[in-house]
């Protein structure tokens, strides 16, 4: 199965971090890379299974509080993800998976839990849960060249503050996002965190291709999927910017 040239995509503990449909991000990346002719090896790790340090891209999704704590502890113990990041691997974390990449997040009953500290962000509890459509404009200063608005669905109670090491992914136009300074998500090197469910990479193909281009080291040939364009057009027409 495995081959030297295959792109290795690792979904981290989808049984713990897959409550909000984010397992779709692995399917989207796999399909979009294969449609460009790349060989792909998608890997779904069971909870507690060792994290291979030599894969190309790692995905973390949203999950319940206890599951998020269990995942963070397993990842800290394992150390594989940190070794992968040291080798310049790409990481994409959503919601609980975004928060636990940071320094600290509220776990079960709101008790603060240490994260894996790969992303310079800290999360605390928002006074009111953020639930609904999220629309955000990419921020160019983050070193990420995105031109299309980011669309997704958020469902979380985390307020995420960026430290000096992290750049915002986008500026919120509708919804809550990070809940601090009207920012959404964080980027640090090749690590991207966001509150965009939907799943995020199904709704935002430009972001999916950006992550893949980091893996292959060059821009990817364009890929037009009419269904994806129709979904984006419908969502962007439905969600009104707030300002």
């Amino acid at each position: 199965m495995s081959s030297e040239s295959a792109i290795r995509l690792v979904s981290i503990y989808p049984m713990l971090l897959g409550t909000y449909g984010d397992g779709g991000n692995l399917r989207v990346l796999t399909a979009r890379a294969r449609l460009r002719g790349f060989e792909v090896e998608p890997i779904e790790l069971d909870a507690g299974e060792p994290v291979p340090a030599d894969a190309d891209l790692y995905l973390l999704g949203g999950g319940e509080d206890d599951a998020q704590v269990a995942a963070a502890r397993a990842l800290r113990r394992d150390g594989g993800l940190a070794r992968a990041v040291a080798h310049d691997a790409v990481v994409f974390g959503v919601c609980a998976g975004y928060q636990l990449l940071g320094k600290e997040f509220p776990g079960s009953d709101g008790v603060l839990e240490p994260g894996v500290e790969l992303l310079d962000v800290t999360t605390t509890r928002l006074p009111k849960r953020a639930v609904g459509e999220l629309l955000a404009e990419p921020v160019s200063s983050s070193g990420v060249e995105l031109t299309q608005p980011l669309t997704g669905y958020e469902n979380h109670a985390g307020g995420t503050t960026l430290g000096a090491g992290a750049h915002p992914l986008a500026r919120v136009r509708a919804g809550v996002g990070n809940g601090i300074d009207r920012l959404e998500g964080a980027v640090q090197g090749r690590i991207v965190g966001t509150y965009l469910h939907g799943p995020g990479l199904a709704r935002n193909p430009e972001l999916a291709d950006l992550l893949l281009s980091w893996v292959v080291g060059s821009a990817l040939p364009s890929l037009e999927l009419p269904a994806v364009e129709a979904l984006r057009a419908e969502r962007l027409a439905t969600v009104r910017p707030e300002e």
Binding site: Y20, G24, E64, D66, V131, A227, L231
Partner: protein, 418 residues
Amino acid sequence: MSGLRLRAATGLGRFAGVMSRTLRRGDGFVIGGRVVLAACPDAFGRLCAGRRVAFVSATNGKTTTTKLLAAAMRAAGPVLTNNSGANMPAGLVAALAMPTQRVPDDAPVVLEADETYLPGLLRGTPDALVVLGNLSRDQLDRVGEVAMVARRWRSTFAELPGLAAVANADDPHVAWAAAVISEVTWVSVGNTWTADSVLCPSCGSILRRDGADWSCECGFRRPNPSWVLTDGVVVDPSGARHGLGLRLPGRANQANAVMALAAAHALGVPVETALPAMASVGSVGGRYQTVTLGGRRVRLLLGKNPAGWAEMFGMLAPPPAPVVIAINARAADGKDPSWLWDVPFEKLAGRLVVATGERRHDLAVRLTYAGVDQVTVEDPWTTMPAAVAASDQPLDAVGTYTAFREMLRKGGGARDVE
């Protein structure tokens, strides 16, 4: 007459006045219930006073289990029930205050209860029987996460020592919530969807699983069931085996029937009386009903979350039969359709899917990435794709809650739905 009773009677009189005004105005069913609740916040408990009350709650199968249990109970005598699927407080008050048939004052009550509202309803009926089927991800924007629902169930159950339960031992969250109830009949009806019970609800460790059995290092484990369903046959607490012989299709409905059977037994209806009555139920709120839409015969199925879909593939007409899938994301469906990515739609490869409903584009993207042929149509019943229109085979159409109800209404189906 004691002061307490007098106050209650006065309250009921006032309540009856509100009721009749509401009915004269001809307001909607659920609106009537809301008006009653506004005038008399404890209306629910009062309407249930003096009656044996059973609540059926679960993520999936609660409407069907309620209907099967009511059918079983009716075989032994009159029953008051909600057959509308309106399972929140206002709908239940309306069902009790405006029954479709007159029943004696002491007739038992069988009600479907929304998972999030069950705790509140139980405060008005602290001696109820709760029939608890399963908990899985559904309408995460409204209902919340599964562990949260289980915690709210458990803390409410713990405060009500008069409760009795019939509970699915195979579902860890249900077993954990019901474990605080002193009188529980444990039932094993299986649990196809395990993705929401990876962790122990009690301590947060990863659960060990061995077939249907599960246990945790903390000592919490699957309770021993006294009713067991295997391959369409149920073994009752005496060890006797009964074939179910249901008209309703699929494994999930066998599970619903065994939950109902054990509940009927707990309420005094013997298996021999309950089984034939349940077997005669052919459609529940239009599910599995064949209606005419766009001039062709269409069988309607409800598919509203990943656990429900896990049971769906076995029920669909086999490939290459096409299938219509209608996705909405209104409040009653859950406003976020990302759960579509938890459904293994890859299994539909080899047939054409007609994607419809307000969120058909979300489904179309999911199917595109799954490699399933699909065509997106706003209203397939007026403009059916030629490839589907050409076939004269009965067509299956699966919808989320509101999409399903709309197809049912258009097709003129289901007289048991208000």
